[in-house]
């Protein structure tokens, strides 16, 4: 994740919501990222979109603020922060359109080398009334994606 990212990011106390400003030719746009808990499962849905002044949320508008990669890199930072606090939780995400899902796939592919050091990464296929999770492979179209922190040794050692 060596891409340029927004460095001023705020979060709620429980790190389930994050906000930052997208800045570009269309001006400053408040972005909100949310990890929403999926009932009865150790998993969260990741979504992000515009946080409008009236408090409404919009994840379907294309802003064309010429900072797409910077936004995706900032979302990746939020995922990192969230999973550092909740390392045993799954995070699911997909695009609101197939084009956006492909964009997320590109973001995963570009950062794969870095990401797979710390995360299990899976693609999700949609079948007839079923979904299947498989290890993520570059160049394959998926319905969505699931990631989880790899287990690390957090034991204490003597100095």
């Amino acid at each position: 994740m060596k891409h340029e990212r927004y460095e001023v990011v705020e979060s709620s106390t429980d790190k389930l919501e994050f906000t930052f400003f997208s800045e570009g030719p269309k001006g400053k746009i408040v972005k909100v990222i949310q990890f929403s808990k999926i009932m009865n499962i150790d998993a969260y849905n990741l979504s992000f979109g515009n946080y409008n002044k009236d408090g409404s949320i919009d994840d379907e508008t294309t802003n064309d603020n010429k900072d797409r990669n910077k936004i995706l890199a900032t979302v990746a930072v939020a995922i990192s922060e969230f999973t550092a606090l909740y390392p045993d939780k799954w995070v699911f995400f997909c695009g609101s359109t197939p084009e956006r899902t492909r964009l997320y796939r590109m973001a995963l592919t570009i950062n794969m080398q870095e990401l797979e050091k710390d995360f299990h990464i899976y693609g999700v296929f949609k079948g007839i009334n079923t979904f299947k999770r498989v290890p993520f492979i570059k160049g394959v179209d998926y319905y969505g994606f699931m990631i989880k922190r790899k287990k690390v040794n957090l034991l204490y050692e003597k100095k």
Binding site: Q34, D59, E81, R133, V152, K158
Partner: protein
């Protein structure tokens, strides 16, 4: 005693996350209901080829 390894959060990428308590009012609300429903559907019908 010291921690042998620390989970990488935002700071590892040079980003300092500032807590904004006014965002706490969003907690518990589902801000993206359409996407949340899609995720719920996935997990309710998910078959895994292996697990971690």
């Amino acid at each position: 005693m010291k921690k042998s390894k620390k989970l990488k959060g935002a700071e590892a990428f040079g980003v300092k996350i500032k807590i904004n308590k006014s965002l706490d009012k969003l907690s518990g609300k589902i801000l993206f209901p359409k996407k949340h429903k899609m995720a719920e559907e996935v997990f309710s019908k998910l078959k895994m080829d292996n697990s971690n």
